[in-house]
Amino acid sequence: MNNDRQTLNQTASWKSRFALPERAHIGERVLVKTLLAHPMESGYRRDFQGEAIPRNIISRFECHYLGEPVFAAELFPAIAANPYLSFHFIASKTGDVTCRWIDQHGAFTTATKTLKVET
């Protein structure tokens, strides 16, 4: 995404949380647990007037470590509200782990943590 889009679409309203161990050894499988406060409106529910509530979901999740993608997911309405995702990657050296959630309109939110890797 180019910088213009980043400024326009950055959404601060989604609260995200992700858990990472503070430190890891080289070659260790690191568990990442992520959570985002988001309704993941499936588009199949109807309101009291009988009108369908439009679909509004996080459609993509990405995790980058040391600037490289280590995990990504394309999400569909079948993912429950407040999407929870956990996965692993292999630690190699100290660096930033960045999680990004992108919705169907392109708005996104990012969270970053540092992983300390020791021998």
Binding site: S42, V70, A72, A73, F76, A78, L85, S86, I90
Partner: protein, 181 residues
Amino acid sequence: MPTSRRSILAFAGLSSTGWPLLSAHASKPEQADPTATLAIPKRLTTHLQALFGDTEIPVRNVTLALPALAENGNSVALGVKVANSRSGSLGTSSTNNADVAPHLTQLYLFAEKNPLPDIARFEFPEAGNTHSEDNVADINTRIRLSDSQRIIAIAEYSDGALAAGEASIVVTLAACIDLSE
């Protein structure tokens, strides 16, 4: 001699309290027939054909952790473990060294009876993932289910080989869906 209505129903095997015990839960690959292929549900045939072509997908390497019964279909915990395997791909020789062993690249999840059968597609880029034989991808998430059904996971490896796993679940209260479905 069963007298009450509940005991008559239980006797006939129709009581709802009996069903969850009979339904399958997490898949058990160690007991599975190694040559078994995935029985694709009718609802998913065209969808899976569009994604994977007409190939038969072997049931191996993929284990799902799903409760046998979900009280509420709005949020059901699902775990999937996939083996990165040298011998997991169809027909590859066991003399492959780790560098060229096929590794997991993508994992697809489907819900047989949801209005839209796709649940998620996970990508496993090379960076940050090793190709060692015992590396296992271990994903957890929460899903929404509109009905009691089978959840199917299909793993795709770097050489194009596929592996599948499935689990069945009984859903007591379906997640809200369009009534016309």
